[in-house]
C-alpha cells in the first residue's frame, strides 16, 4: 500500500501553521491542550475543596500562596469554598467535558473518519477555538477581580446571581465575567457545531454512506446538533441575567426582595424562569458531555474485542433517542421548585424512558464483548471502565428521576455522586480511552503501556472510593455546597467519611500525574507507531501517523466496507479496512 503524501503543503510560517492554523488537526490538538490546562486547574480547585471538607480548621499557608486575598490566614472561608465550587464546576463542564471530546477529538478525527481533507469551513473552525480560549481566559480572570470569583455555582441560580455584590463576594464583577465567558463559549460552540454538521452531511468521501459512518462520527454529529440547539437558549438566559444585573430590568428578580436590610428596586421577576432557561440548556449539556464518550467506547470496544459492534443501527437509533429525549426532561432538575405534580410526573416518566436507549447501548456493548477474544490494552480498559461507570451512575439516575425519591435526595451529596459519575467521570474515561487509542495517530508514537495500566487501575479504584461513599453521605442527608460539617450536629458523625473521600481524591489526583507524564514523555520518547498499530478498520488508520496536512493527499479514499468488519469469516486477516477492495461476489 502506498502512503498518502500531502499534495497541499501546510503553511510554512510557525504562526500560520501552529497558532492561527485552519488545519482541523492542529485545531483539535489546540482544543485538547486547552482542555488539559483546564482539567489541571479544575483538579487543583477540587483538592482545595476536599482539604477544606476533611480538615476544616487546618491552616494551609502553602496553598494560600495561590489565592493570597481569598485565603487570608491560610484557611478557606465558606464563601471562598463556594467560589471554588463555582469555578470547578464551570471549568470542568464547559472547558473540559465539552471541549476535549467534541472540540478535541471531534475536530481531529471527524474529517478523517468521513474521508474529508478538512472541515467544511476551516476559518470558522479556527475562530471557534480562539473564541473558546477567550472565554476560558475571561472565566479565569474572575479570580483576580475585586470580590473574586462568583459563589453562585455553575448553575448561577437567580436571584443570588442576579442582584450583584450585595448578595455576597464575587457576585459583582466576578459574576459578570462568568456570564461573558459563558456567552463566548456559546458562540464558539455554534461555530464548531456548524462545521461538524456540514462536514458530516456534505463532505463524506465516495462510498461513505451514513450507514458506514463510525459510531464516533454519529456521536459527534448528534452532539453537534444538541449544542447547536441548546447553547442559544443559555445565551438568551445569560443576556437576560446580565440585563437584570447591570440595566435594572426585572426578568428574574422578584419584587420586594430584602437583602442585607435593603429593599431592592426590582419587581415582578421570576427566579424559576432562570431555572427553566438554564436547565433547558443544562440537561442537553449533560449529553453533549457524555455522547462522544459513548461513541469512543463503541469504537474502542469493537476494535479490541475483534468483533463487529453489536447492533450498529440500534446504537445509532439509541444515540438519537437520547439526544431527542434530552430536550424533554429539564424539569427533573426542578422537582422541588414547587412545580405542578402533573408536570413533575410527565418529566419523571420522560426521564425514566431515557433508561431504554441507555440500556440498549449497555447491552449492545456487553453483547459485543460476549465470547470475544478481548485484548486488554489501555484504551480498552478505559472503555470497559466507561461502561462500568456509566451503569453505576445511570442507576442512581433512575432513583433521582422519580419525584418521590428526588425530593428527600435533592441537593444532597447523592446528587453530587450521581452527576460526577455519569457526566464527569464517565466522560473523562471516554476522553482517556480516546487519548490512549488515538495518541499513536496524533503523535506518531505509542504511549507507555505499563504506566497506562497503572494509571487506569489507580483511577478506576480511586473513582469508586471517592464517589460510592458520597452516596452514603447523601442518603444520610448531607446537603451539598456546605463548606464543612462544623456547627451541624447531625452531620458531625459523617466527618470520617469526608476524610476518607479526601484521601481517595488525593491518591486519584496523584495518579493523574502518571497520565500527564506518560503523555508528554511519549510525545518525544515513545516507541514509534506504525500506520495502524491496533489493526483497526476506519479511515484514520489508512494514512500515516501523524497524518499529512491534507489527510489523504491526492489519494481520496473510496469506501467499500462498514466501519466494524472484524473477524469476518473467510477473510485473510481479522480486520477489513473500510477502503479494502469490495469482497468478490460468491463464486
Amino acid at each position: 500500500m502506498t502512503q498518502a503524501v500531502a499534495t497541499h503543503e501546510a503553511p510554512k510560517s510557525f504562526i500560520r501553521r501552529y497558532i492561527f492554523s485552519t488545519d482541523h488537526k492542529v485545531i483539535g490538538l489546540q482544543y485538547l491542550f486547552l482542555a488539559m490546562a483546564a482539567v489541571a486547574i479544575g483538579i487543583i480547585l477540587s483538592i482545595y475543596m476536599r482539604l477544606r471538607l476533611a480538615w476544616p480548621t487546618e491552616r494551609w499557608p502553602l496553598l494560600a500562596k495561590l489565592f493570597p486575598n481569598a485565603m487570608a490566614g491560610g484557611t478557606i472561608s465558606p464563601e471562598f469554598y463556594l467560589s471554588l465550587v463555582t469555578m470547578h464546576g464551570t471549568i470542568m463542564v464547559f472547558f473540559v467535558l465539552t471541549t476535549a471530546p467534541l472540540g478535541g477529538f471531534g475536530n481531529y478525527f471527524l474529517p478523517i473518519q468521513v474521508g474529508a481533507h478538512d472541515m467544511a469551513f476551516p476559518v470558522l473552525n479556527m475562530l471557534s477555538f480562539w473564541v473558546t480560549l477567550a472565554g476560558f481566559l475571561v472565566l479565569l480572570a474572575a479570580f483576580f477581580v475585586s470580590g473574586g470569583a462568583p459563589i453562585s455555582g455553575w448553575t448561577a441560580y437567580a436571584p443570588l446571581s442576579a442582584i450583584g455584590e450585595i448578595a455576597g463576594p464575587g457576585l459583582g464583577m466576578g459574576q459578570n465575567l462568568w456570564i461573558l465567558s459563558i456567552a463566548l463559549f456559546c458562540i464558539a460552540s455554534l461555530l464548531g457545531a456548524l462545521n461538524f454538521i456540514t462536514t458530516t452531511l456534505n463532505l463524506r468521501t465516495k462510498g461513505m454512506a451514513m450507514t458506514r459512518l463510525p459510531l464516533t462520527v454519529w456521536a459527534w454529529f448528534t452532539t453537534a446538533v444538541l449544542a447547536l440547539l441548546a447553547f442559544p437558549v443559555l445565551l438568551a438566559g445569560g443576556i437576560l441575567l446580565l440585563l437584570d444585573r447591570v440595566a435594572g430590568t426585572s426578568f428574574f428578580v422578584p419584587g420586594g426582595l430584602i437583602v442585607s436590610d435593603k429593599i431592592l428596586p426590582h419587581k415582578g421577576g421570576s427566579p424559576l424562569l432562570w431555572q427553566h432557561l438554564f436547565w433547558f440548556f443544562g440537561h442537553p449539556e449533560v449529553y453533549i458531555a457524555i455522547l462522544p464518550g459513548m461513541g469512543i467506547t463503541s469504537h474502542v470496544l469493537s476494535t479490541f474485542a475483534r468483533k463487529p459492534i453489536f447492533g450498529y443501527r440500534a446504537m445509532v437509533a439509541a444515540i438519537f433517542a437520547i439526544g431527542v429525549l434530552g430536550f424533554l426532561v429539564w424539569g427533573h432538575h426542578m422537582f422541588v421548585s414547587g412545580m405542578s405534580p402533573y408536570s413533575a410526573i410527565a418529566f419523571s416518566l420522560l426521564t425514566l424512558s431515557i433508561g431504554v436507549p441507555s440500556a440498549i447501548k449497555t447491552f449492545n456493548w456487553l453483547a459485543t464483548l460476549y465470547k470475544a477474544q478481548i485484548r486488554f490494552t489501555v484504551p480498552m480498559l478505559f472503555a470497559l471502565g466507561f461502561v462500568s461507570i456509566f451503569v453505576t451512575g445511570g442507576l442512581s439516575g433512575i432513583i433521582l428521576g422519580q419525584t418521590s425519591l428526588d425530593i428527600p435526595m435533592h441537593d444532597t451529596y447523592f446528587v453530587v455522586a450521581h452527576f460526577h459519575l455519569i457526566m464527569g467521570v464517565a466522560a473523562i474515561f471516554g476522553i482517556f480511552a480516546g487519548t490512549y487509542y488515538w495518541f499513536p495517530k496524533m503523535f506518531g508514537r505509542m504511549m507507555n503501556e505499563t504506566l497506562g495500566k497503572l494509571h487506569f487501575w489507580l483511577t478506576f479504584i480511586g473513582i469508586y472510593a471517592i464517589f460510592v461513599p458520597m452516596h452514603i453521605l447523601g442518603i444520610a442527608g448531607h446537603p451539598r455546597r456546605y463548606a464543612g460539617t462544623e456547627g451541624f450536629d447531625f452531620l458531625a458523625p459523617l466527618q470520617p467519611i469526608h476524610v476518607f473521600i479526601t484521601i481517595a481524591a488525593l491518591v486519584t489526583a496523584g495518579a493523574q500525574l502518571l497520565f500527564f507524564f506518560n503523555f508528554f514523555w511519549s510525545i518525544w520518547k515513545g516507541r514509534k507507531a506504525e500506520m495502524n498499530p491496533w489493526r483497526a478498520t476506519t479511515l484514520e488508520w489508512t494514512i500515516p501517523s501523524p497524518p499529512p496536512h491534507d489527510n489523504f493527499g491526492a489519494q481520496t479514499p473510496v469506501v467499500h466496507h462498514g466501519p466494524y468488519e472484524y473477524s469476518v469469516p473467510g477473510a485473510a486477516e481479522d480486520y477489513i479496512l473500510q477502503t479494502a477492495p469490495p469482497a468478490p461476489t460468491k463464486s
Binding site: T7, H8, E9, H117, D118, A120, F121, L190, A193, L194, I197, T198, L201, N202, L203, K206, L228, L229, A230, F231, P232, V233, L235, A236, G237, I239, L240, L243, A247, G248, T249, S250, F251, G255, K267, G268, G269, S270, L273, H276, L277, F280, D550, A554, Q555, T556, V558
Partner: protein, 225 residues
C-alpha cells in the same frame, strides 16, 4: 472539437481550458492549490443550521416573554412607536430587492445583480437607523429599558434583532464587494459564478429569515399582548 456542451464542466473547459491531469476524483488539484471547493449546497446547509440556532435564541427569549407576561402585576403594554410601521416596510422592501438581485445574478447579469445587492444593504442600514429612531420616540415618552417588563423586552428584542441585521449587512457588504471585484472573472467561468451564487443564496436565506423574524417579533410585541 465540436463536442456539444452538456454540462457546466464543458463550459468551464471552453472558458479556462481542460483541467490538469490527475485522478478524476481529486479535482485535478496541483500542489499548493487550495482544497477542492465545497460540494454544492454546503453554504445553504450550514446557513440552515445556523438559522436553527438563531431561532432557538429567539425561542428562548419568546418563552421568557410569555412567562414574564403571565406573571402579570407590573406588565404595562406599550403602544408601538409609529416609526416601526415604516421600518417594517423598509425591511420588507429590502427582501424584495434582494430577491431581484438573486434573479439577475442567476441570469448572469452580474453588474445589475450587484447593484441590487447594494440597494438591499442600503435599505438594511435605513432599517437600523429607523429602529434607533423608534427607540428615540420611546425615550421621548420617558420609557426606558427598565421602565417595565414590556419595555425591557421591546428594547432587548429589537436590539438582538438589530445586531443580527447588522451582521447581515456586513455579510452583504462582503458579497457585494466580492461580486464587484470578480464581475469580469464570472464572464469566463460560469463555475465561479455558480459558486458565488451559492454564497449569495445562503446570504439571502439569512436575510429573508431576519425579515420574517422581525415580522414575528412585531406580532409578538404588539399584536399578541
Amino acid at each position: 472539437m465540436a463536442k456539444p456542451i452538456t454540462s457546466l464542466k464543458d463550459l468551464e473547459t471552453i472558458a479556462v481550458g481542460p483541467r490538469p491531469p490527475g485522478r478524476p476524483d481529486d479535482g485535478g488539484r496541483r500542489s499548493g492549490e487550495p482544497p477542492p471547493s465545497l460540494p454544492e449546497g454546503s453554504y445553504r446547509l450550514a446557513m440552515f443550521f445556523a438559522l436553527a440556532s438563531i431561532g432557538m435564541l429567539f425561542l428562548g427569549f419568546t418563552s421568557a416573554y410569555i412567562v414574564r407576561q403571565g406573571l402579570g402585576g407590573d406588565w404595562q403594554p406599550l403602544d408601538p412607536p409609529t416609526l416601526l410601521w415604516v421600518n417594517t416596510l423598509v425591511l420588507l422592501a429590502s427582501s424584495a430587492t434582494l430577491h431581484r438581485s438573486r434573479q439577475l445574478l442567476r441570469r448572469e447579469a452580474v453588474r445589475e445583480g450587484v447593484r441590487w445587492l447594494s440597494w438591499t444593504m442600503a435599505l438594511g442600514l435605513l432599517f437600523l437607523v429607523g429602529q434607533y429612531g423608534a427607540w428615540r420616540q420611546l425615550i421621548a415618552q420617558g420609557i426606558y429599558l427598565s421602565t417595565n417588563p414590556h419595555s425591557s423586552f421591546f428594547y432587548l428584542l429589537t436590539a438582538a434583532h438589530g445586531v443580527h441585521i447588522f451582521g447581515g449587512i456586513l455579510g452583504l457588504g462582503y458579497i457585494t464587494l466580492r461580486g464587484w471585484r470578480e464581475r469580469l472573472v464570472f464572464i469566463g467561468t460560469p463555475g465561479r459564478l455558480q459558486q458565488y451564487n451559492a454564497l449569495v443564496g445562503a446570504a439571502a436565506l439569512y436575510w429573508h429569515f431576519m425579515d420574517g423574524l422581525w415580522v414575528y417579533l412585531f406580532i409578538l410585541l404588539f399584536l399578541w399582548r
